[in-house]
Assembly symmetry: C2
Homo-oligomer: 417 residues x 2
């Protein structure tokens, strides 16, 4: 019978219920925070014309884009990120009210080398404000990162904040040639991972003169927020982010080429995982599809990394692998009607209730099933209980049980759950 | 500046916030119903080895499968449905507790001719029970369809129920050659759309003898539920589905080849859209990837069609296109601190609150923005209100407004929203 080996592609993942539980809880927290600041959801197609994705992404990215000819011989590609589709949407629907505050949680595909924490299909979670130059927009993005991390339960994290404008001025003052500015910034970005000496070596191989390098380092050490960033930082504080959760950090540079203003990234201090959220202002990117520049800022929330840290720190020890709260067991097929009745009573009180499906299985097997699935409670009754008009509620975690009058049943069970 | 035309591929869709609002409400209803019966979520990758998708789907489907060579020259394809990935998962993880009650809501891709209501990427929503032969499993699937349609707000719908076993016996009794059984069943399936005479013509072109056709029709008219289906129907009734919402219908056949037992489909009677949910028992399909057959049953919920009917019947006239409930307006930049304070108060009461971002815009422009976005309430205050310690709450739907003491503010606003 078996004709094909059931095998998943390397770098791709199945999310079984246990993994889905943690994902759904995170998405729910994130969406609630987004919505609390007035952001609405957007979804775009998985496939786009290849040229739309290829134009912006740069050589490195283009190698990773899944691209093919479809049945109509169109050159198509799978979404590589959520920023390019957002830019396309902004250009294609000029009537969208601005500022457009949107969030987008969808998979993206990158034919990257799979390794721990790096997949070929993964969910990106972006939140952006398109059409506002206000420092309040930049501040909101930072506050949203803070709110999300706080609500997930992280206690020790820091949001590093800088501005590309500050870095650009430093490069200019230090005498970095215009065409090398971005490349130098990318090396500077490594200063939180490797030493000054190593970054220096890297810059030398990029043909930056030693005296320029010294000047860059000196200017970075003395750097102060510019006027716009001062406003942003003061608004972040007014929006109730405590001082110890964010700081100006002139060494922060961020990898992407397209940032033009404030940039930020969040680090969990108890973990070595690196940044788990990062973004900034990009006022020139959307112009690619439109006749004029449209200012924008936003951040990506790194779902996969956040999940890794939640597991590493055991932040959600109580999280159940199922949303089912009660298994109603079956004594035998003659008790089916009562079991159905009890199940429906529980469901009508919004208690997620599974009724055991197979009439013939012994109670032991039924309880084992509940255990394996992670259902916390079981309702048990047989001829004796029917006569006394009771049921037994068994807590499968503590292995304790209690006999309850059927008339009090719902009230008692709601208290326990 | 504009270098690329912003264009979406034909047959693909963007979901702007307005469309997302209706989608998210439906998904939330559907998930709650699934979970109330003990179903948990599953997600599988978008890309699979092509041969996994191609084996089962049949020639017609194979033409529609998006298939290509990836960067590692692997023959890969985009998910065509959710049933084949489910089967692969069942075979790949034999330790999954059974019965496995899972739901899956993910996009699928079909290179079909785009037309009204048919897209090349669309969200499928499947719910299945794998590993149970109990009639209670079949009944639960039917009850779930009923619950979902009821909770969406449909009043006039019917779930047609039949069994492939009944159709198989009829074909056998009528003398249909074994190898033509499925083809005849597919013609019979059209009896609710075209006349007996037309179906007869179709069967004649399929080389079925007239006397056999007559016999098929006669037997269908006299058909009664078999023992298993009787149990299913009686359980559906016990699970509180009113009699007028489901009926045995021996003409129902369903298109797919793989059904082996009870089958069902739901029709909205006020609409001509066709079936909006359909499924059945398929006890032989999963064997494709495993060494032994595993019984299973389930249904697909047709999200796109349901959305079309909700719009057609204007079922959710009150649904807002945004989840934002309040816009806090800005008199000018000197009122920013108070505006932030009010916004944070509202957010702490779980009211989704947007603060207007641009300090310079006139109130009129700010209110127009709220209108366009569909935000129902605006908070307005200027020097006068600050002095009186009040704010104005404006209802943007009724265009009425009320001045409220700031001390009562949260209580009053919560009442209105």
């Amino acid at each position: 019978m078996k004709t094909i080996e059931p095998k998943i592609l390397k770098g791709f993942r199945d999310f079984l219920p246990e993994q889905m539980a943690i994902r759904q809880k995170i998405f729910s927290i994130i969406k609630n925070v987004f919505q609390s600041y007035g952001f609405d959801p957007l979804e775009t197609p998985s496939l786009e014309y290849a040229k739309i994705l290829l134009e912006k992404s740069g050589e490195e990215a283009n190698k990773l884009i899944y691209r093919f000819k479809d049945q109509g011989n169109r050159d198509v590609a799978l979404r590589y990120d959520l920023t390019v589709p957002l830019s396309r949407v902004i250009a294609q629907y000029p009537d969208i009210p601005k500022p457009f505050k949107r969030y987008q949680i969808q998979p993206v595909w990158r034919a990257d080398k799979p390794q721990k924490g790096r997949y070929r299909e993964f969910t990106q979670c972006d939140v952006d404000i398109v059409g506002s130059s206000s420092p309040l927009a930049d501040a909101e993005i930072i506050v949203i990162i803070y709110d999300i991390l706080k609500k997930i339960g992280f206690e020790n994290f820091i949001i590093r904040i800088n501005s590309r404008q500050i870095l650009f001025s430093i490069m200019q003052s230090a005498g970095v040639p215009q065409n090398k500015t971005l490349s130098v910034i990318q090396s500077i970005d490594k200063l939180d991972k490797i030493s000054f000496e190593e970054v220096k070596q890297e810059l030398i191989t990029k043909n930056i003169k030693p005296e320029i390098i010294e000047k860059i380092f000196r200017l970075i050490k003395k750097a102060k927020p510019d006027l716009f960033l001062q406003q942003v930082l003061s608004l972040v504080k007014k929006l109730d982010v405590p001082k110890n959760f964010f700081r100006f950090d002139p060494v922060l540079a961020r990898g992407l080429d397209y940032y033009t203003g404030p940039i930020c990234e969040a680090i969990i201090e108890e973990s070595k995982i690196g940044s788990i959220a990062g973004g900034g202002r990009y006022d020139k990117l959307i112009g690619m599809f439109t006749d004029k520049d449209i200012p924008a800022c936003g951040t990506t929330i790194g779902i996969d990394r956040i999940i890794d840290v939640i597991k590493e720190l055991n932040l959600w020890p109580e999280l159940s692998s199922t949303t089912t709260q009660v298994l109603v067991t079956l004594f035998d097929k003659f008790f089916l009607n009562q079991a159905i009745e009890i199940s429906q009573m529980l469901r009508s009180e919004n208690i997620n209730t599974e009724i055991y499906l197979d009439f013939e299985d012994r109670l032991e097997k039924q309880l084992k099933y509940a255990d394996k699935k992670g259902i916390p409670f079981a309702v048990i009754f047989g001829p004796e209980e029917i006569q006394k008009n009771t049921v037994i509620l068994k807590n499968l975690k503590t292995r304790t049980q209690k006999e309850i009058q059927k008339s009090n049943f719902i009230k008692e069970i709601k208290n326990k759950i």
